[in-house]
C-alpha cells in the first residue's frame, strides 16, 4: 500500500518504538481500539496499560487500531478492504476479541463506524466468532445492544481471568457464558430490562450470572501492572509526554465530579515504585517530557519525596516534568522550592466556580486567594500561560457567580502578567456523581449566561486571554448519552447511519443529524436533561462511591 496517498500516513504505520509484533499462529489475538484518531487514542493511558499487559502473555498477541480519518475510511469502503490492525495489518475480524475503549460517550458513533469498516455485524446474534468487548464506560446501557461483553472497572484486576477464559473455552458462546459468571464482566445478552415503578431494572435471565453487577479495581498500585517499555510514537500526539501514575482515585468529594467515582477508591503508589518506573520509562523511550499523574497530586502523602527524587534523577537530562494536578497553595507554599528546581512548571487550576459561595455549594475546595497573595512567587516560576477551568449552569448558581468568571479571568491575567487560557464548560449531571439527579440548566438560561460572561469580558484585550466555551448542543447530547438506557441505542444507530462521526470534535459535530435521529425515533431528548429520567438507573454499583 502506498500510504503517501493519505493525510498523515504516520497514523497507520504501526512500527513505533516498543510496538509489539508477534506471529499470530496459535496465539490468542486481541485487537484494542480507541475509536478516535491515532493522535488522540495514543494519548490514552488505559489503552497502553492493557496493550502492554496482554502482550506480557506469551500465548497472546495484542495489537491496536484507531479510527481511520475520512480519506482512509473512504478508500476502505470503495475498495472493499476491511479495516486492519496497525501492527500486523490483519483484518479486525480475524481476531478473537476486539476491545473498545469507550471512555467518552461522544465516541459512540465512531465505535459503530469502526465495526462497519471492519465488516463486523452490528447485531451480536449475527457475529460468527469474534467477540466485541467494551470498557471505560460509566453507563454502558446506550450501546448494550451492539456489545457482547462490557468490562466494568480496571482491567488489570481481571486480566488473568480474561486470558483464562479465552484459553479454556473455544467459540463465542462458550466464552461469553464464562465471562458472564466473572465479577467485572457484563454480558448484556444475559439480562433483560424490566420497566416499572421506580424506573428500569436489569433482570438476569439465568440466576447464576453476575448480579448485581460490580465494578472491579486493583488493590495495590505498587504491584499492579504498569507499562514501562513505553510505546513511543514517532509523530506528534495530543498529549505528547509519558505519564507516570502516582495515585488513582481522589480523596476529595466535589459534588459534580464523576472521575472520583470512576477511579474509586483512592490509592497511592509509593515513591520507590514511582521513581523506578520513571527511570525505566525514560530509559526505554527517551521521552523529553514526563508527567506525574493523579487526580490530586498534592494529596499524595509522599509528594515531596517524589518531586525531590524526580529532580535528582533527571537533573542533568533536560527532561520536562509536569505535575498537572497540584493545589495552588502547595505550588506557592511548601512545594515551591522543589518545583523551582524542576524549572518547568505549568499552572492549571480547576477553579470550577468563581465565587467562594458557589464553590461551597459544589464542595470544591481551592484557595484562589493564595494565587493573588503569592503573585511574586508565581511570577518567578517562569510560567508561560495559565489554564483555568470553569463550569456554569451549576445548581444554586446566581448571575453574580457567572459574571465573576469573567472577573476572575481578568484578575488572574493582571496578577500574573501571563496569558490566561480559560475553558468554560456547561455543567452536566453525570451518573455516580453526587449531582447525578439534578436537572441541567435550560438552553435559554445557558445562552444568557454565556452572554453575561462575554459581555463582562467586553473590552478586555483579546491577546491576554483565550476562552473556549463548550458547545451547548454537544453538552446536551453528552448528558443524554451518559444518562440514557438501552432505549437510546436506535437513536445512536440512526445518527451513525446519517453520517454523525467524531461528535466530540467541534468541526465534525452535527447537531442537526442528532435532532433528526431523536425525532425519527420519537424520543424527546429533553426528558433526560430536565430531571432524572425514570429509565435512568445505573445498573451496577460503583463500589460505595456515591
Amino acid at each position: 500500500m502506498d500510504w503517501a496517498q493519505f493525510q498523515k500516513p504516520q497514523r497507520y504505520i504501526g512500527n513505533e518504538w516498543n510496538a509489539v509484533s508477534k506471529p499470530h499462529d496459535g496465539r490468542l489475538k486481541i485487537c484494542l481500539c480507541f475509536p478516535d484518531l491515532y493522535e488522540v487514542g495514543m494519548s490514552n493511558l488505559g489503552l497502553r496499560i492493557i496493550y502492554g499487559l496482554i502482550n506480557e502473555y506469551e500465548s497472546a498477541v495484542c495489537e491496536r487500531v484507531f479510527l481511520p480519518a475520512p480519506d482512509l475510511a473512504g478508500y476502505l469502503t470503495q475498495t472493499g478492504t476491511k479495516l486492519f490492525s496497525l501492527e500486523s495489518k490483519a483484518a479486525l475480524d480475524t481476531f478473537d476479541v476486539v476491545g473498545f475503549h469507550l471512555g467518552c460517550e461522544l465516541n459512540f458513533t465512531n465505535f459503530l463506524a469502526v465495526l462497519e469498516l471492519a465488516g463486523i455485524p452490528f447485531e451480536p446474534s449475527r457475529r460468527r466468532d469474534i467477540i466485541v468487548m467494551a470498557g471505560g464506560l460509566v453507563n454502558p446501557e446506550p450501546i448494550a445492544p451492539f456489545v457482547d461483553v462490557f468490562f466494568l472497572g480496571e482491567f488489570e484486576a481481571k486480566a488473568e481471568e480474561f486470558m483464562e477464559v479465552l484459553k479454556r473455552y473455544k467459540g463465542r458462546e462458550a466464552r461469553l457464558e464464562a465471562f458472564a459468571h466473572i465479577e467485572g464482566f457484563y454480558v448484556p445478552a444475559y439480562y433483560e430490562v424490566a420497566t416499572g415503578e421506580g424506573g428500569a431494572r436489569l433482570v438476569p435471565k439465568t440466576p447464576s450470572v453476575q448480579f448485581p453487577l460490580k465494578k472491579v479495581h486493583v488493590k495495590d498500585l505498587n504491584t499492579s501492572y504498569y507499562p514501562t517499555r513505553w510505546l513511543t510514537p514517532y509523530t506528534q500526539i495530543v498529549h505528547d509526554r509519558a505519564p507516570i501514575e502516582i495515585a488513582r482515585g481522589c480523596p476529595h468529594h466535589c459534588y459534580f465530579c464523576q472521575a472520583r467515582c470512576v477511579y474509586f477508591p483512592y490509592r497511592e503508589k509509593k515513591t520507590e515504585y514511582v521513581l523506578t518506573q520513571m527511570e525505566e520509562i525514560y530509559a526505554s523511550s527517551g521521552y523529553e517530557n514526563l508527567s506525574l499523574l493523579a487526580l490530586s497530586a498534592s494529596h499524595h502523602s509522599q509528594i515531596e519525596e517524589i518531586i525531590d527524587g524526580a529532580g535528582k534523577l533527571f537533573k542533568e537530562k533536560r527532561v520536562g516534568i509536569a505535575l498537572p494536578s497540584l493545589r495552588v497553595d502547595d505550588i506557592v507554599g511548601r512545594l515551591y522550592p522543589r518545583l523551582a528546581a524542576l524549572k518547568k512548571v505549568s499552572l492549571t487550576l480547576a477553579v470550577e466556580a468563581a465565587t467562594v459561595e458557589l464553590r461551597e455549594k459544589i464542595n470544591k475546595h481551592i484557595d484562589v486567594d493564595a494565587v493573588f497573595e503569592a503573585r511574586d512567587v508565581l511570577r518567578s516560576l517562569r510560567l508561560r500561560t495559565i489554564k483555568l477551568y470553569f463550569m456554569f449552569g451549576l445548581p444554586g448558581e446566581t448571575d453574580e457567580d457567572v459574571v465573576a468568571i469573567a472577573q476572575m479571568i481578568r484578575s488572574f491575567q493582571r496578577a500574573l502578567g501571563v496569558k490566561v487560557n480559560a475553558s468554560i464548560n456547561i455543567f452536566i449531571p453525570k451518573p455516580f456523581s453526587r449531582f447525578q439527579d439534578v436537572a441541567m440548566d435550560s438552553p435559554e438560561n445557558l445562552r444568557r449566561k454565556r452572554q453575561l460572561i462575554q459581555k463582562e469580558l467586553g473590552s478586555f484585550p483579546l491577546r491576554r486571554y483565550h476562552i473556549s466555551f463548550s458547545t451547548q448542543e454537544r453538552s446536551f447530547l453528552e448528558a443524554v448519552l451518559s444518562r440514557a438506557g438501552r432505549e437510546i441505542a436506535p437513536v445512536i444507530f440512526r445518527a451513525f447511519v446519517a453520517g454523525a462521526r467524531s461528535d466530540s470534535c467541534e468541526e465534525t459535530f452535527r447537531w442537526d443529524i442528532w435532532e433528526e435521529a431523536f425525532r425519527d425515533e420519537k424520543i424527546d431528548f429533553r426528558q433526560y436533561t430536565t430531571s432524572v429520567h425514570p429509565r435512568f438507573n445505573p445498573h451496577y454499583t460503583a463500589g460505595g462511591a456515591v
Binding site: Q10, W17, Q236, G286, Y287, E288, K317, R384
Partner: protein, 94 residues
C-alpha cells in the same frame, strides 16, 4: 563544540515520517544513549541537529545532517550507540 556530519538514509516505512518526525525520532533515540549530545538552550531544550536537505513525505533517500557534541565523538562510536536505537528503515553513513 564538536560536530559530525553524517548521512541518514531513510527507506521502507520510515519514508512516511516527516522531517519534523525525524527530529523527534533522533532526539528520543539520542536520549536513550549515553553519548555526549549537545542540546539547545532555553525553556525547552532540544537535541541540537541540523539538516542540510529534506525529503518529501513518501520518498526514500539520503538526508545530510550535522550532530553536535560536548566532546569529540567519532562516527564509529555514534553508529555503534545510536543505530541500535533507530527504527528499521533508518541507517547512518559517514
Amino acid at each position: 563544540m564538536n560536530t559530525l556530519k553524517v548521512t541518514i538514509q531513510k527507506s521502507g516505512l520510515m519514508r512516511y515520517y516527516s522531517q519534523l518526525d525525524l527530529v523527534r525520532i533522533l532526539e528520543r533515540a539520542a536520549r536513550r544513549t549515553d553519548l555526549p549530545f549537545a542540546f539547545t538552550q532555553g525553556f525547552t531544550p532540544r537535541l541540537k541537529i541540523s539538516f542540510h536537505n529534506g525529503l518529501k513525505l513518501g520518498v526514500e533517500g539520503d538526508i545530510l545532517a550535522t550532530f553536535y557534541f560536548h566532546e569529540e565523538t567519532s562516527f564509529v562510536r555514534l553508529e555503534e550507540n545510536l543505530l541500535p536505537q533507530l527504527p528499521h528503515g533508518l541507517i547512518l553513513k559517514p
